[in-house]
């Protein structure tokens, strides 16, 4: 499954009300490590059908970035049943992402 772009309007339906575990990638266009992270997210999302991967541009959705107290990007936040269960800051490898998403 590909990475889905999510914004403040779709966040509740796509993330908080998702039946699956969600990995939300908070990113920005000006952030080099975020751009390196994007293809890794795509690659892992293709292999993990039981997890939903979403991408959130923090400049277009500053309300979400504030709500979830994002102070460093890329920031990967794991949601289960609408609750944050874990997060990881900075560029990580495909193996590390797989482990984070599979917890």
């Amino acid at each position: 499954m590909a990475v889905i772009k999510v914004n403040a309007d779709t966040f509740e339906a796509e993330v908080l009300k998702s039946d699956k575990t969600v990995v939300a990638d908070f990113n920005a266009t000006w952030c080099g490590p975020c751009k390196m992270m994007a293809p890794i997210l795509e690659q892992v999302s293709e292999k993990m059908d039981n997890v939903k991967f979403v991408a959130i541009d923090i400049d277009d959705n500053d309300v979400l970035a504030e709500d979830y107290e994002i102070f460093s990007i890329p920031c990967l936040v794991v949601f289960k049943n609408g609750e944050e269960t874990n997060r990881s800051v900075g560029l990580i490898s495909a193996d590390e992402l797989t482990a984070l998403a599979g917890e």
């Binding site: 952030c31 080099g32 102070f71 460093s72 997060r87 495909a94 193996d95």
Partner: protein, 301 residues
């Protein structure tokens, strides 16, 4: 068996791959996370020959594509050991083992941490090692920068235009960094210099609220800050390779301009080598030299 294994896909390692491929050698690059190296954190590079402006991300991507186009094989695995089997070098990753005639260690460096108890837990919650990456999250907030070198000075200057107040905390009474940057910082009204002091505790409720600063004279004070930018130097990523490359007291691999380590056929290139100038262009230069030396070694085997 590969001719040359390169550990690390940053500017040094990828340049080495370009040179080694052009010399007709088969090349494996092992990269732990994502190619590009630490330069991908830099928004704008202005000091690489020919390119007046290029982002670190574009630089990393283009160099990666160049190495791939020339036929370098890139595998995303973290190398954890090099051992010798006669003349062969066996490189172990967390998943597999690969054998080569020569190895180039181009692992670069990582940010040095302060070593405070809750520091790791606060990364992304107020503690950052990259002002240009995370600075924008602290618009009109109070922040501190800790360190005394060029990175700390430039981080403080960058944050002065974004944050409400910037405390620049340094353990000595003068800076190691460039005079010109210090002079520019002194013109900024919202920069406060905190000399002879170290950060000794991070106070947080879910995220960073304040820091404890201890002066050389023993006095302790608390600074209310939302952000702390740590710029206290870097640690070379050579720990796993001390058996084949001699390291200095700071952990840098000891090798001259020819990039040779104490082990024949093992070379070191880039920021993890002991040298005076660590820049993008010197990392690339090391890659070229190490690859040329490695090719020579393989040809003479």
């Amino acid at each position: 068996m590969y001719d040359i294994i390169i550990i690390g896909g940053g500017p040094a390692g990828l340049t080495a791959a370009v040179y080694a491929r052009r010399a007709g050698k088969n090349v494996l690059v092992l990269e732990a996370t994502s190619c590009g190296g630490q330069i991908i954190n830099t928004p704008d590079i202005e000091n690489y020959p020919v390119e007046e402006h290029i982002s670190g991300y574009d630089f990393g991507m283009r160099l990666t594509n160049q190495a791939k186009a020339l036929g370098a094989e890139i595998v995303m695995e973290k190398a954890v050991d090099i051992r010798l089997n006669g003349n062969e070098k066996v490189v172990a990753t967390t998943k597999a083992e690969y054998t080569a005639k020569a190895v180039i260690i181009a692992t670069g460096s990582a940010s040095r941490k302060l070593g405070l108890e809750n520091e790791d837990a606060l990364i992304g919650r107020g503690v950052s090692y990259c002002a240009t990456c995370d600075g924008n999250f602290f618009r009109k907030k109070k922040v501190a920068v800790v360190g005394g070198g060029n990175t700390a000075l430039e981080d403080a200057l960058y944050m002065a235009d974004i944050a409400d107040t910037v405390y620049l905390i340094h353990r000595r009474d003068s800076f190691r960094g460039e005079e010109a940057t210090v002079a520019r910082l002194k013109t900024k009204e919202n920069v406060r210099f905190v000399y002879n002091s170290t950060v000794t505790a991070l106070n947080a409720e879910k995220r960073l609220k304040s820091i404890e600063v201890t002066n050389k004279d023993g006095s302790v004070s608390t600074l209310e800050v939302n952000g702390l930018f740590v710029a206290v130097g870097r640690i070379p990523e050579n720990r796993n390779f001390a058996a084949v490359a001699e390291l200095d007291e700071s952990g840098y691999a000891i090798a001259g301009e020819n990039c040779r380590t104490k082990t024949p056929g093992v070379f070191v290139a880039g920021d993890n080598r002991q040298k005076d100038v660590r820049q993008l262009v010197t990392a690339a230069a090391d890659g070229a030299v190490a690859a040329t030396e490695a090719v020579k070694y393989v040809n003479e085997m």
